[in-house]
């Protein structure tokens, strides 16, 4: 949001006379304009000798403000966008796909909640391999705990061998793996950097070779946020909600599936509950709870929250070693 003087080049009506008038009312930049009552400003402008030009300036400023928000859409346009661009991506895990009526939806932020070794990272790696192999799309994986395992991804890719590609196996494998970009991030500020860079890349439509990024994973977001929550200040919560907004914006504007993982903490009565507290609860679109039967390869997944499904629906699935 620029100070007003930088706008003069493009909008000559916002000349120094206009800016001086604004300055007497404490308006120096676009942000100040947003916080000020423009009708009152017009009333003051009437009293000036150059009232006509000033009012034209105010009108110009209003149309600049009109360009600062997202465009208004009607229901049909929204629906078309949803039907054309916001498809469902299969995770490669039948149980989850069935539960979610197809898989993870593009444009939505999905959260996987579970205790440690409940299978969250496994599901992330499975989804990664599925998107890179079957959908032939790019994956950006933000790994906060060194849990990303290329070998595991390769195992998943190899699990459903396609006879046609057996001959050129190595080359194909390389191609698939090249679609996966893994960043190690250990604090929330690095995550913001990586996400902003991703946003720039997506906006300028830089594509890696032949693929477009479709899946963004943050494993785990709670390990980035938990250290900054707590204490008396609100900085931690502000960063957490900002991160949520950035992830949702990336999901919606660039039609990505965004998947984040969260761990659990003890709650009242000894029942574990998702970490990150109440403010985080309303941020993801979909919240799923994962758990793992001890010693077996059977996992349970249940819906904690979903925009069009009742919570409590559950399914089981198996991940083979």
């Amino acid at each position: 949001m620029a100070p007003l003087k930088y706008l003069e080049q493009e909008y000559p009506i916002l000349d120094s006379n206009f800016r001086n008038f604004c300055a007497t009312h404490g308006i120096f930049s676009e942000e100040d304009l947003l916080l000020h009552d423009l009708h009152v400003l017009v009333a003051f402008a009437e009293q000036q000798s150059t009232s006509e030009r000033l009012k034209q300036g105010i009108t110009q400023v209003l149309s600049i403000i009109d360009g600062q928000h997202q465009p208004w859409l009607n229901g049909m346009e929204l629906l078309e966008d949803a039907q054309l661009n916001k498809h469902v991506l299969s995770t490669g895990c039948e149980g989850i796909d069935l539960l979610l009526q197809g898989g993870l939806r593009m444009g939505q932020l999905t959260e996987l909640v579970g205790a440690s070794s409940s299978g969250k990272t496994q599901v992330c790696l499975l989804a990664t391999s599925n998107v890179a192999k079957k959908h032939m799309d790019g994956v950006v994986y933000l790994d906060t705990g060194n849990s990303f395992s290329p070998q595991r991804v390769i195992d998943f890719i190899r699990q459903n061998p396609d006879p046609a590609i057996d001959q050129a196996k190595h080359r194909i494998l390389q191609k698939v793996m090249n679609r996966i970009l893994c960043h190690s991030v250990f604090d929330i500020f690095t995550m913001f950097d990586v996400l902003h860079q991703l946003e720039v890349n997506l906006r300028s439509q830089m594509q890696k070779g032949d693929c477009q990024v479709r899946l963004l994973i943050v494993d785990s977001i709670s390990s980035l946020v938990t250290p900054i929550l707590g204490g008396g200040g609100s900085q931690g919560h502000a960063l957490m909600t900002s991160a949520g907004f950035l992830l949702k914006k990336l999901a919606h504007e660039h039609n990505l599936v965004v998947l984040v993982t969260n761990h659990t903490v003890g709650g009242e009565g000894g029942i574990s509950k998702p970490a990150l507290g109440e403010s985080w609860k309303s941020i993801p679109h979909v919240r799923l709870r994962l758990s793992h039967d001890q010693g077996s390869s059977i996992y349970n997944v249940s819906v904690l929250k979903h925009p069009s499904m009742a919570s409590g629906k559950a399914a089981r699935f198996t991940i083979y070693d």
């Binding site: 916080l35 997202q70 919606h252």
Partner: protein, 256 residues
């Protein structure tokens, strides 16, 4: 008009509910017309389903739903400041006027605004963007808007501080509330503890307030599946009873 601050709106859900509503009304005669959605002449003797009519009605209704999402307070303020002109444009182009303004998640930017600290700005009469100034400007802009376009403003707000329930706040400017006198007084009011975190300028602006949340009662069984029971309690003006409702595919249904 719908301002999505939580950025979680699901158009497919709205689409389904609208289709259910249209299908439900085209079977049999139409007794009550929802003024917001229909401007056609009444047809009340054709009991057969007319698919073309339904489709046209559906797309007309969908086009009347205007949506915008905001990713931060500045975008929200920019939207409010230019809302009057947008409404005027709709009136000129399509001849429709706005009846409801919905704001989903008035507390969405609460933490971000609260934590925003700006460098000292030099001039003493300059407003620094903060939770207080942003809320004041929001209230001011909505007040001005209501002077020009009397309409119903409904805002949702999630409780943040360790409480399990969420709230819906309503501002009434035009039209009467359908008095729920017909509801029987079932149980004592719950008076659940919730903490108000919006600045007082917003709190005093609100004229009606409803608290909704998941009920502690066990899941009730309907025809097809178990459904969670939700409650809604009027806080402002305070009522002594609590309504219960369930959420189905077709929408929200009160439970007696």
């Amino acid at each position: 008009m719908f301002i999505d601050l939580d950025c979680r709106f699901d158009i497919l859900r709205l689409s389904k509910m609208l289709k259910h509503r249209i299908n439900g009304q085209s079977n049999g005669s139409i007794k009550k017309i929802d003024q917001e959605h229909m401007d056609f002449d009444l047809w009340n003797n054709d009991t057969k389903k007319n698919p073309t009519y339904d489709e046209e009605l559906y797309s007309l209704c969908m086009r009347r739903f205007l949506f915008i999402r905001c990713y931060d307070s500045f975008q929200f303020l920019a939207t409010l400041k230019t809302l009057h002109y947008r409404i005027q444009k709709e009136q000129e182009l399509h001849g429709i006027s706005v009846h409801i303004l919905m704001i989903d998640g008035i507390g969405a930017f609460h933490w971000i605004d609260r934590a925003s600290t700006f460098m000292p700005l030099g001039a003493t009469n300059r407003k620094t963007p903060s939770l207080q100034t942003v809320s004041e400007t929001v209230v001011q802009e909505i007040r001005k808007l209501l002077l020009l376009h009397p309409m119903l403003v409904i805002a949702t707000k999630a409780t943040i501080f360790g409480d399990r329930y969420s709230m819906t706040e309503t501002k009434r400017n035009l039209g009467k509330l359908d008095a729920s006198n017909s509801r029987s007084i079932s149980s004592t009011s719950l008076q659940l503890p919730y903490r108000e975190y919006m600045p007082s300028v917003w709190q005093t602006f609100v004229t009606h307030r409803v608290l909704v949340g998941a009920s502690d009662d066990p899941l009730i069984r309907t025809n097809d599946s178990d459904r969670s029971l939700y409650f809604s309690e009027w806080l402002l003006p305070p009522q002594s009873f609590v309504d219960k409702f369930i959420v189905k595919e077709a929408g929200v249904f009160m439970v007696p």
